[in-house]
Amino acid sequence: MAGPPPYATPLYRSWYYGFRFLCALIFLFLIAPILVIMPLSFNAEPYFTFTKGMLSLDPDAFSLRWYEDIINNQQWLHSIKNSFIVGIASTILATTLGTLAALGLSRSYLPYRAAIMGVLISPMIVPLIITAAGMYFFYSELRLTQTYTGLILAHTALGTPFVVITVTATLVGFDHSLTRAAQSLGADPVRTFFKVQMPLILPGVISGALFAFVTSFDEVVVVLFMAGFEQRTIPRQMWAGIREQISPTILAVATLLIIFSICLMTALELLRRRNERLRGLSAG
């Protein structure tokens, strides 16, 4: 930001700085809540606010006790394990089903394309409480509530719209003459898919998978209704922590989750750039 041009009038100048100040405040609103809890998770005291010692950077005021708390707490460890089990299983299912569907949806001649797309995206749109209530009734009749299977199926349904959207978006620029070329050279459809199409749409597939994983990893409403104590995931455990016995351990978990989401975000950004490069949209 180079500052206002030298010929700027005082009015423009004040507008220029005023506008940037306003934007800075909005960015602060976006980012501050996330940044504030990171240092607080190192608080030596069981409070949710900065102590005098922390403000004067006294090393005694900081500690890792809440992180030790996570490691020593069976419930937290169990919920972390659950989150990964449910997340990974539902991601694999959602990505497989979603990618296949996206391949079909990318053909403009697919009959009732708009209606099908509308149905496939709906899990993203319908309020979670309605999804959770409906699934609770249905799955309890099948005796699938309080089971891993039920939770994985539910999270798969919630994750597929993201896969469908990202993969269809990747396929928009896909040159179908490549698959025709491969087939005319004697490759069967399966081979064509894995050797020609898959490498090109892979960035879209992976980012869809990441979205599906995050959806499952972050989901709590369906878990609240469908999971038993045995299937508690991280968000469910945090929910209980916030509602029942709020302890700074939650802040430590939150900090770890933020770091985790930064990793995911970076991965996604790299994939996006790779995708653009593959499709020749940008030089970099």
């Binding site: 809540p33 504030v36 079909g104 319908v126 199926l153 990893f217 991280i234 989401s261 930064i262």
Partner: protein, 422 residues
């Protein structure tokens, strides 16, 4: 190959099939192949998602309790013409009494009591205690016996309520969700004043969602504009500030608002330290509507910024420059030239934010306290606490209808194909 028949030339393939038909066959095949690819997911979503939700909406009119657990009584009560007499005749009393005793033996009388209680609050013990007392009565006259068991059996409203829960299907849950009910003559009337909560709640949810949408639009506009007009390197950096909250767990963000806003929290501490407020009158900013709105605006803001930014990025700066060189003031050039081009972005973002806000559950439940609850929280309440599943289904059905209407609108205006993520 071409054959001339009756002056018309029909093109055929090598094996003699007319080209048109062959083309149609190939197209059919391709359509079928594309559909086969979509089918697994379509079936999966149909079974695990659409069907359960359809069942839930159906549950809002489903009324199995009386017709299942006291079938004879349900039939008898329905046959009784309530306009003819104040109370049903002795034989109806007899059938109901026998069914009550039978339901007690089957251990289903509690369910009947709960169901009647939704219709006529405070009538739970009427059923359970009458069933207990009547099981000791050997023989009629049953009307006398029932009136002795509980004098409420002599009230017309008891029988009217029983008559309302007797049919296999009922509109009473959906009516209750709209603060209406049947009166003792079967006409639809509003609930008494002190029991009218849901319409207010729906209206409140709508207003809160509108307010949140507006707040998101107002906050998203300047920063999207800034990002769209900066060089790529800077706008990418600023984008991280938008995407980081977007990717951070919902519960983490809600937790951080609790930490920031609670009375012993960071923001109050700062204000006390600056001397803006006294230590004794810290401001209650969370566990009320303020907390719900602040946290929801924060959570939904990225959903507004992303579509707005992607629209603004495509607007060429030369339009505004042209307007200014033609003599427009910067404000006029912005309003007449720049702003209209950003309207599609605002529309897309607004509908998305509104749809998400209207069904929000977690944040109001955690930071809303008593006054910051929205319609979703009441659905959850009836699902988990009061166990009035019919009412929960009806409230959910109405909410779902509203959301689907908005979704349809979004699809018409923006198109789901254009939905962008990240």
């Amino acid at each position: 190959m071409a054959e001339a028949t009756a002056g018309k030339i029909v093109l055929t393939t090598a094996d003699g099939v007319p080209l048109k038909r062959k083309l149609r066959q190939t197209q059919q095949l391709m359509k079928r192949r594309a559909f086969t690819l979509v089918l697994p997911l379509l079936a999966f979503i149909g079974i695990t998602f659409v069907w359960p939700i359809a069942l839930m909406v159906y549950r809002g009119i489903d009324n199995p309790v009386l017709s299942e657990f006291m079938p004879n009584a349900a039939e008898a009560v329905l046959d009784w013409d309530s306009s003819q007499s104040e109370l049903p005749p002795e034989e109806v009393f007899a059938i109901v009494a026998r069914d009550l005793v039978q339901a007690r033996k089957d251990k289903t009388v509690g369910k009947v009591a709960t169901r009647l209680n939704y219709e006529l609050p405070g009538s739970r013990s009427l059923i359970t205690s009458s069933a207990r007392k009547l099981s000791r009565v050997e023989d009629g006259p049953w009307m006398e016996a029932m009136l002795k068991a509980d004098s409420d059996w002599g009230k017309r409203e008891t029988w009217a309520a029983l008559q309302r829960i007797a049919p296999r299907y009922t509109g009473s849950f959906y009516l209750a969700a709209l603060d209406m009910t049947y009166d003792e003559n079967g006409a639809i009337v509003s609930q008494p004043e002190n029991r009218q909560i849901y319409v207010t709640l729906f209206v409140r949810t709508l207003w809160v969602s509108l307010f949140i949408t507006l707040a998101c639009a107002l906050l998203a506009y300047p920063i999207s504009y800034l990002m769209a007009t900066q060089p790529l390197r800077i706008s990418n950096l600023l984008m991280i500030l938008v995407l980081l909250p977007f990717w951070t767990s919902l519960l983490v963000r809600t937790t951080s608002w609790i930490v920031l806003l609670q009375t012993e929290g960071v923001l109050n501490d700062i204000m006390v330290a600056l001397g803006l407020i006294g230590d004794e009158n810290r401001i209650q900013m969370i566990y009320n509507m303020t907390g719900t709105i602040v946290a929801m605006v924060h959570i939904l803001l990225p959903f507004m910024v992303l579509p707005l930014f992607s629209v603004m990025k495509t607007i060429s700066p030369s339009y505004v420059r042209a307007a200014q060189s033609l003599g427009a003031t910067p404000a006029r050039a912005f309003w007449k030239v720049y702003f209209p081009q950003t309207v599609p972005g605002i529309g897309a973002g607004s509908i998305l934010v509104f749809i998400l806000a209207i069904g929000y559950y977690i944040t109001p439940a955690l930071v809303g306290g008593r006054t910051g609850q929205l319609i979703s929280n009441f659905i959850a309440f009836h699902m988990q606490k009061s166990l009035n599943w019919g009412l929960a289904a009806a409230l959910g059905g109405i909410l779902l209808f509203g959301v689907l209407a908005l979704y349809w609108l979004y699809n018409r205006l923006v198109g789901i194909d254009n939905m962008k993520l990240g």
